[in-house]
Symmetry: C2
């Protein structure tokens, strides 16, 4: 690996440590604090001059704060003479505003990418960006990986019973397929249909039966958890044995955990792209593997 | 004035409106909201194509949020075809980390300036930046103005009695001089001396007596207000008639207002570089005047 040093940002301490452990590369944690007025202080506590550095810093909420820390880290590394700076931003904030849906809107994901490139970052890795097409804004080597294989492999170890992977909507089918492959299982997805008379949204599943089986519902982001809760409730009602949820970015706004638990979710698995209460699954191996393709 | 349109950012609604009123230029307020996950949404609700735009957005706390909004506004304006985009950032965040005081530190003010320039902003105006030397990081026309003349002029209207302008420390002497000129008054400053035996810090004032006079204490930033409170208490104890405080950027962290009131401050004047409870003094005229020098 053409990397000399891992620099661990304040938002990715867990993932950074796992990357260091798995790669046996030297690592330093970024020294950081918050000034009384709310500004972030960043200090790279180690010699980076002439080194090829992998900086790891996610940008989950509070996004603006984590983004600013990321910018400060990259700029400091470059300024301190690092030869190469690769940024691993496992969750990329502002990726959902990826187009101008109404005239005059800021296309936020492009702004974020522009700012990263302005700081002369040499390569970029993220996981499950909202839309793959957003990656086209990069002019540097940049990679969007999927964490689903890691989630599938994790569930495999749990000895799921006749597992079935389910996507909560058609947009997430490819995620279900990826997890199913790693788990060596079948997959399906839910369709939302609006009843023309009542206007009610009906969610239906297809192809496979859930009775007595362990169902793994997968998604890229779980925010309020209401989509997952709806699907989980239905699956449980139809006789599923256990309902597992595997999501890449567990942002968990509001009472997401409680909402999903109440809906019958037996286990929620998140990854360390977001550091929080459910970051059990690590994307470290996938990240190191991907890194070889851009370094 | 070679400006066609003022674009008013969410952090500078008061100042933006005053700029529009004083200049008679067309103005649009930026449409903005916060998504449930905490990200900012920005929309320029007006035609900016081919126009020369002045974007006004301050970056007082929460700094990272206001900075991100500023970046989104500038990038959207450029993307929407604005011919020129001038940024008025009346309070520039992160200006206090203006050097590498310990090895490895991020020089944050340079990063902020770098990001602004990366978005191809054509000119920049701020007020009372922490250190004038930080402005050297700019490669575009950039101006650091002082709001003190506006504060001095405002106090003049209050019919102060034998006014004396006082800087709380030697670093703020030039601010006191500027306010004193506008007020046509005398000025002085306080010195901090450490007693060699007791270690106690003694603050002393010099040159002029305060007895029976209205004293205007000036500073660039009031954060917790403790420096001002110390000085105000002393001045009051020595017989000042009224203690006025004039500060450019009233960030007012913690219980700053209560602390200063308890120390005998009769009136706190802030400017609209920061929107808050004490933004009485407007820098609009000074800003429009300065703008002519860089447009």
């Amino acid at each position: 690996m053409e990397i000399d040093l891992i620099v661990i940002g304040p938002a990715s301490v867990k993932l950074g440590s796992r990357l260091a452990a798995e790669s046996s590369l030297e690592a330093v944690a970024v020294e950081h604090k918050t000034f009384p007025d709310g500004e972030s202080y960043i200090r790279i506590n180690g010699d980076v001059s002439g080194k090829r550095v992998l900086a790891v810093q996610s940008t989950y909420p509070p996004q603006d704060r984590h983004l600013m820390q990321l910018y400060l880290i990259i700029d400091a590394l470059k300024d301190l003479g690092a030869e190469r700076v690769y940024a691993a931003v496992p969750y990329l904030a502002y990726a959902r505003q990826d187009g101008r849906f109404r005239p005059g809107e800021a296309v936020s994901v492009n702004t974020v990418i522009k700012l990263l490139e302005a700081l002369r970052v040499d390569g970029f890795i993220t996981f499950n960006i909202h839309k793959q097409a957003s990656m086209e804004a990069f002019h540097i080597p940049a990679l969007n990986l999927s964490a689903m294989p890691a989630i599938g492999a994790y569930v495999k170890e749990l000895d799921a019973w006749r597992p079935l992977v389910a996507a909560p909507d058609e947009g997430a089918v490819s995620l279900a397929r990826e997890a199913a492959e790693a788990l060596n299982a079948e997959y399906t997805w839910f369709e939302k249909r609006r009843d023309r008379l009542t206007g009610r949204v009906e969610t239906s599943y297809r192809k496979l039966d859930v009775k007595g089986r362990d169902v793994l519902i997968v998604d890229d982001i779980v925010s309020t958890g209401s989509t997952i809760a709806n699907v989980a409730q239905m699956v449980k009602a139809q006789g599923a044995r256990r309902v597992l949820v595997g999501c890449v970015h567990a942002l968990l706004a509001e009472n997401a955990l409680e909402r999903m638990k109440a809906a019958g979710v037996d286990l929620l698995l998140g990854t360390d792209t977001v550091e929080g209460p459910v970051s059990q699954v690590s994307v470290a191996s996938l990240l190191l593997e991907g890194l070889r393709r851009i370094v």
